[in-house]
């Protein structure tokens, strides 16, 4: 019987000792983990300092995407108002975040460094359609708060 208590005391000792150890889990969402700057999360479309889109709608990301998650439709700049820095721009740019495997090949293929994967990884949504990020959404890069 004594040996039983001893065993319990031993176990409790380990437990109590562990209470002093640093914790491996964090209190999400009150606390958030720091990620490497190279973490590949949700996409964004970058703009230059004049507000012109860097994306010219060349479709290389679409071609390289192994998950066929990207759809690009290009067009010429409407009227005299350039949308991107050149006469061609992407009218539609959609990323299906359910299909996306976050491999980052789009980022690598992009000749104008327009599409980038941000560290943002909070991708939960209530419907599947909400998981298709359109151009408007991608132009406003998500920020973790």
């Amino acid at each position: 019987m004594l040996s039983g208590f001893k065993a319990i005391a031993n176990g409790l000792k380990t437990t109590l000792l562990m209470l002093k150890e640093p914790r491996d889990t964090i209190q999400y969402p009150e606390k958030r983990r720091e990620y490497s700057p190279r973490f590949r999360g949700k996409h964004m479309l970058a703009q230059d300092e004049d507000g012109h889109e860097l994306c010219v709608g060349c479709g290389l990301c679409e071609a390289v995407c192994p998950a066929h998650a990207i759809r690009v439709v290009a067009a010429g700049a409407p009227g005299s108002r350039p949308v991107s820095w050149t006469e061609r721009y992407a009218v539609d740019y959609e990323v299906d975040l359910i299909r996306c495997i976050f491999c980052g090949m789009c980022e690598e293929a992009c000749p104008t460094n327009a599409v980038r994967l941000t560290p943002f990884n909070e991708l939960a949504a209530y419907s599947r359609l909400d998981m298709v990020a359109d151009k408007e959404e991608l132009l406003a890069p998500p920020v973790r708060n």
Partner: protein, 758 residues
């Protein structure tokens, strides 16, 4: 034959072959920009450098003719270094804006830089900036920065087409391609420079920024616009066709040149006027309801009056397989033998005479019998010019207007209106011919290989053509019919009669009340049948007209039902061109709305009629004839005399008519920009007397009570006192005018002129 060795492999080629072509025969690719087989050697781009033993320096493979015992190396350090150097030079002022460039992904500058380039550019200075996206024609954009000055475009338009509308301007790094005197290029063949341009300098405006090579469906097809049936590639994106390109066919010696009327009308399948919705008694209906109702009504007619009370006319624009399905439906399900192709002309070609494009390429004499290939079947004009470049070809034009032109010079023999066949008969009769006509007779009978381009307008010419072939004896005579519809020979292959009399009989039966229902498959009798009045009477009298097709004919209220069918580029099938060659065309787009292939439509109709139709397997290709349709054997023809013609009453204008693909092509929003606002033609003197401005204006064409107003242009090729009205023109239906009686012409009301003048 000359024996030489390329990369250690022996080959013997005919004398005069260039090294680049000899290598191609071995399957060795030598990069080229400026060289094109159709244009011949130039040596402007220098990318084709090869090493030839015993020659001190690298040689351009495209300008070096083969020599006996030549030893050529297309690789090796010297060649690689040479190519790298040339590419580095070509890229010095190249903007490298591949992500923006439409050609990106299918560009030879990209490919060769990737395969042969060094990957580095030592030129660090700023690049020369030039004009970008400069419109050189209604359809073509020129980016002078991307140009490598290969001159293919200039030489194609200048030498191959004979319409010098592009040129090189300036010197050295300042050299650019530009238009002559700033005038846009307006040649109907200008679009080919888009295909010819090896880089992204000449781009298609309608395709600008539309797609990339990896997000398109690019399928082999044939052009659907005219019976030449040019081999082409259709590009589909998101279910719509967005581009048509020429497709070279080396085994047929065809370089894949198209005309702009074909190249830029692919969007007709998505035109707002396209029938995408089924209509029943003028009201939109679901496809199944419409099919069920039509089938039920047809079944009732067949039950009451027998299958013979139903007739079927086809416009022969669908595939051979679909025409065949229609024929099966007509014979099996309806049980009628009243089935015919609706042709816009009354002449029937004797099929044994049907020639090929190879005949044309080898011809020593060409007779344009009523046909103006430049306007009716533009690529035939190019083929004729190509034949003339290879060897001398005598060209005779025999029609009621001038048929040769400066780019296709020849002798013209202008007959009285409506007397073309009569004239040919007189020439073949050989009696009392004066100088020129005697020359024509001698030429026609004695030329080694004769090809006749016949517009099919004059039925009497058919027997005369057979007689001509008979008189020529052993010397080959071939006829190429230039008239539409696109796939009438395909319909013949499908077992549908294309004789004018067959269609005429159906319309006569209808006009006399012997028909209770008429089925039109993409046929518009009112617009296309040579006797428009008979067509009008027929459509008025027949109780029910069911239409299936792409564009419903006017007036639509006369149609009991309209059923949409899938069009060209939406179905895979076979077409036959004017030489009777069967050509497979693949689909690259989705049929819009309720449109469905004819095959599925007729089986559905048959089911609705209560007689399910089982369509057995059908292969349009027949073993013994290869890829041409079967033709009956030649029959020795008797010498036909001149057909008798009534004399024409004096003092009025004579109506001439002919095919003009610029008018007859399907409705297209892209081609709208080059729509001819002045399709009628008058001699300049007549135009002056009328007071018609330059280049033309609106005139009124009147015959009896009928008055039509349309734009007319001055054209010295039309003899005085005659007015040319293209077939199928909605404003002035030439088939509603009595050509024997003459018309009155006056300037149109100036108020209307102001509104409608271009």
């Amino acid at each position: 034959m000359i024996q030489l060795s390329i990369d250690g492999r022996e080959i013997s080629v005919p004398e005069g072959t260039m090294v680049v072509d000899a290598a191609a025969k071995l399957g060795i690719e030598i990069p080229v920009y400026c060289y094109h087989q159709a244009l011949g050697p130039l040596g402007a781009c220098r990318i084709c450098l090869v090493e030839i033993e015993k020659m001190p320096k690298l040689q351009t493979a495209c300008t070096t003719a083969v020599r006996e015992g030549m030893v050529v190396h297309t690789g090796g350090p010297a060649v690689e270094k040479g190519r790298q150097g040339i590419l580095e030079f070509l890229l010095i002022n190249h903007p490298l804006d591949c992500p923006v460039c439409d050609k990106g992904g299918e560009c030879f500058l990209q490919d060769y830089s990737f395969w042969y380039g060094s990957g580095k550019n030592r030129f660090e200075e700023s690049k020369i900036q030039r004009q970008k996206d400069y419109p050189v024609s209604d359809y073509i954009l020129l980016d002078q920065e991307r140009c490598v000055l290969c001159q293919r475009c200039i030489r194609f338009l200048g030498e191959y087409v004979g319409e010098e509308q592009l040129m090189l301007e300036g010197r050295g790094v300042h050299t650019v391609v530009s238009t002559v005197e700033g005038q846009p290029a307006h040649s109907p063949y200008a679009g080919n420079v888009i295909d010819l341009c090896p880089v992204g300098a000449l781009l298609s405006e309608p395709y600008h920024f539309k797609a990339r090579p990896w997000n398109i469906e690019r399928e082999e097809t044939v052009c659907s616009v005219c019976p030449v049936g040019c081999a082409s590639l259709v590009t589909g994106r998101d279910g719509h066709p967005v581009r048509l390109e020429g497709r070279p066919q080396p085994d047929l010696d065809d370089y894949g040149f198209l005309c702009d009327h074909g190249r830029f009308t692919y969007d007709f399948v998505n035109h707002p006027a396209r029938l995408e919705q089924a209509f029943l008694d003028g009201k939109p209906a679901s496809a199944s309801a419409a099919v069920a109702a039509v089938g039920e009504r047809l079944a009732r007619v067949v039950e009451k009056s027998g299958g013979g009370a139903v007739a079927v006319l086809t416009g022969a624009v669908h595939t051979v397989e679909e025409e065949w399905a229609l024929a099966q439906f007509a014979r099996e399900s309806i049980g009628t033998s009243r089935l015919a192709v609706l042709k816009p002309v009354a002449g029937d070609l004797p099929l044994p005479l049907l020639g090929t494009y190879a005949d044309l390429a080898a011809a020593t004499g060409v007779l344009l019998l009523g046909a103006d290939p430049y306007e009716a079947v533009p690529v035939m004009h190019l083929k004729l010019r190509a034949a003339r470049r290879a060897h001398p070809v005598a060209v005779w034009g025999l029609g009621d207007r001038v048929l040769t032109r400066s780019t296709l010079p020849g002798e013209d023999f202008v007959a009285e209106p409506g007397q073309v066949a009569a004239r040919l008969g007189v020439v073949l009769g050989g009696e009392a011919l004066d100088g020129r006509w005697a020359e024509l007779r001698r030429g026609l009978l004695e030329t080694e290989r004769l090809v006749v381009l016949w517009d099919g307008a004059d039925p009497a010419a058919a027997a005369l053509l057979a007689a001509l072939a008979g008189q020529r004896g052993e010397r080959p005579t071939a006829v190429l019919p230039t008239h539409g519809p696109r796939n009438w020979l395909g319909a013949v292959r499908a077992g549908i009669s294309a004789e004018h009399a067959a269609a005429a009989r159906i319309l006569e039966d209808a006009a006399e009340g012997r028909l209770e229902a008429l089925i039109l498959l993409a046929a518009d009798p009112l617009r296309d049948f040579p006797d428009g009045d008979l067509a009008a009477r027929a459509l008025e009298r027949v109780p029910a007209v069911y239409f299936a097709g792409w564009f419903a004919p006017e007036p639509r209220h006369a149609l009991s039902a309209m059923l949409p069918t899938a069009a060209w580029a939406e179905v895979t099938g076979t077409y036959a061109n004017m030489e009777g060659r069967l050509q497979v065309a693949h689909g690259a787009a989705a049929a819009p709305g309720q449109a469905r292939p004819v095959r599925s439509l007729v089986t559905a109709l048959a089911r609705a009629m209560g007689h399910p139709l089982r369509l057995p397997d059908f292969d349009p290709f027949q073993d013994q004839d290869g890829d041409r349709i079967a033709r009956p054997a030649k029959q020795p023809a008797e010498s036909a005399g001149a057909p008798a013609r009534p004399a024409l009453p004096p003092g009025e204008w004579r109506v001439l008519t002919g095919d003009m693909v610029a008018v007859s092509h399907p409705p297209s929003e892209i081609a709208e920009r080059t729509r001819e606002p002045l399709p009628l033609r008058l001699h300049p003197h007549d135009a002056d007397e009328l007071g018609l401005g330059a280049p033309g204006g609106l005139i009124e064409v009147a015959q009896g009570e009928r008055r039509f107003v349309a734009g007319a242009r001055r054209d010295a090729r039309i003899p005085a006192g005659r007015v040319f009205i293209p077939r199928g023109l909605a404003d002035v239906p030439a088939n509603r005018l009595d050509h024997g009686a003459g018309v009155k012409i006056a300037l149109a009301d100036p108020v209307r002129e102001e509104v409608a003048a271009p």
